[in-house]
């Protein structure tokens, strides 16, 4: 279509300025978040029973041999820090993907039972089937995909209705959590700390073998998900509008679900279902970024920051050491209650 009357240049300039302003805000937020994540990551490597200064930590990370630091930082703290980073990014990314796709902040994978599925499968694999390493990840991923499919089918009645999906998901999640608890009671030789990993998530005792699958999954599936960000943004306008804009709705949804479930299941197999990170990251990112474009990257960074900071708080800020999931759980639960109350007040049907 050729516009008969070209728009006034002043309006075009105003539109361009408006757009630039929005993207500047978004880029600024992303940059600040990235810096904060990097800082929290470095602090995680520095502090502990022994304090190592910044320069020693950096040298270890760059592969130099530093007496003392090489073992403590390189072997103990680095896997833990990387796992925190990877898991946080994965939980944040997957959470906001689901929330965007289903147009509901309650629809994050940890609220609708997908994370619980991965956790229950992982603990079942370890305790009952005596699996390890990749086998645990595989079982967790299969279970998470299975749970996603079951929830989808149970709530599908000529189109997926958001509220029904969420309620069914919460029910399925509760069921799977009780599976986890039951399996843990059978595992007498485990200590309380280890049990907590599978109930709320923990980074304790992270090893490279545990971290590697989660890292690879994030590096492979994360970019695929980011490639869908424009399509996901269009889905926010409703399926029909998105389709009219040239989005292949079902294909986008399938790719998004598989990738989001994939990253979150691999991360859960490594550190358990760190409570509420998926659920919190998106809304926090939305608050900071404002309605200025895709939330995928900001939410991933917020997720990483949440996990890194919560782990630092859990380890060092309180009288006892708490696993990271206890801290994020304390943050997330009130927000969940707030959200449910707000939905009720707004006259929502939930």
């Amino acid at each position: 279509m050729t516009a008969v009357v070209p728009p006034p240049a002043a309006t075009v300039d105003a539109v361009a300025r408006n757009r630039v302003r929005r993207s500047v805000r978004r880029r600024l937020v992303i940059t600040v978040l990235a810096v904060l994540v990097a800082a929290a990551f470095v602090v995680t490597l520095m502090v502990g029973r022994t304090f190592y200064p910044l320069d020693e930590v950096v040298r270890v990370v760059l592969g130099e041999r530093v007496p003392g630091a090489s073992f403590t930082v390189g072997r103990l703290r680095l896997p833990r820090g990387v796992l925190a980073l990877v898991a946080g990014l994965a939980f944040g990314l997957a959470g906001v993907t689901f929330q965007t796709m289903l147009r509901n902040p309650l629809a994050s994978p940890d609220v609708i039972g997908i994370t619980s599925g991965a956790g229950a499968a992982a603990v079942f694999g370890i305790v009952i089937l005596s699996l390890g390493g990749t086998a645990v990840s595989t079982v967790a991923v299969a279970a998470a995909l299975g749970v996603a499919l079951v929830i989808y089918l149970l709530s599908f009645r000529g189109g997926v209705a958001g509220t029904r999906l969420i309620l069914i998901g919460i029910g399925v999640g509760a069921m799977l959590n009780s599976v986890t608890s039951y399996v843990l009671t059978r595992a007498g030789q485990w200590d309380y700390q280890e049990a907590l990993r599978w109930l709320t998530g923990s980074l304790n005792g992270a090893t490279w073998e545990a971290v590697a699958p989660a890292l690879v999954a994030l590096l492979v599936l994360g970019p695929v998900l980011l490639g869908q960000s424009r399509n996901l943004s269009a889905l926010q306008l409703g399926d029909d509008t998105a389709a009219a804009l040239g989005v292949r709705v079902e294909r986008t949804r399938l790719i998004a679900i598989v990738c989001a479930v994939g990253v979150i299941a691999f991360a859960t197999a490594a550190c358990g279902p760190i409570a509420f990170v998926s659920f919190l990251a998106g809304p926090i990112a939305a608050r900071i970024v404002g309605p200025n474009g895709s939330l995928l990257v900001p939410a991933a960074l917020v997720g990483a920051l949440l996990v890194l900071v919560a782990d630092l708080v859990g380890q060092f800020a309180l009288d006892t050491r708490y696993p990271v999931g206890v801290i994020t759980g304390v943050l997330g639960a009130p927000y969940l209650i707030y959200l449910i109350i707000r939905t009720n007040r707004a006259g929502g049907s939930l």
Binding site: T2, A3, V15, N18, L245
Partner: protein, 275 residues
Amino acid sequence: MTATHSLAAEELTLAYGERLVIEGLDLVVPAGSITAIVGANACGKSTLLRSMSRLLSPRAGRVLLDGKAVHRMPAKELARTLGLLPQSPIAPEGITVADLVGRGRHPYQGVFSRWSREDDAAVAAALEATQTTTLADRAVDELSGGQRQRVWIAMALAQQTDLLLLDEPTTFLDVAHQVEVLDLLTDLNRTRGTTIVMVLHDLNLAARYADHLVALAAGQIHAAGTPAQVLTEDCVRAVFGLDSRVIEDPTSGAPLMLPLGRHHVDTPAEVSPRG
């Protein structure tokens, strides 16, 4: 330009699961003109529109755009020629007018492509045409119903399609805003030659603003043609089950339908509507 695009349905059958909604329907949309589709609630107007923009695959038959089946066309290519404003689009919380209208540029952008001056110009033109330029920074959910509808139309305009389908663009608007939206669509049709297909509930506004009127009933086209040919007392009775008087609209010459209920008229209807 527009006149070269033809849109037609051939023996179209549409269904949701077991439920047949449209059966063997043939429809030709006259290029470069305004077509209005009218019909009773739940008779399949939205379903037909959704299928014409390939949101719903036909059970049988085809929708042809320039002789090609729309369901075989690449999604983005189709979206550059044919736009659809659905009956109830969703505005994400807090989204600004400029952002929403910019979403109309989706079919022109790839994963890695950046915004171009052309995209900005298309958004600007859409804002100007709908007189929403001054609203650009406002949040869509704070606007009045009429403003919001203009913004959605602006989004569809930013898509720069030669064909534009609109599902009940005037529902929920007061009469002044209804007229405003229809005038805007007429401007668009007259200045750019955009082919417009819209579902309307108000028969009299449909008769006045449409060049071509299509009355849908029982999954079939009951009548199609100029408003004077289609909007008759017999047609209103057949399509809506309503007795009426049709006179000439003294302000436009189009047919004007006056419903006859059981009360408040000199010659009341013998049966109640849908009786």
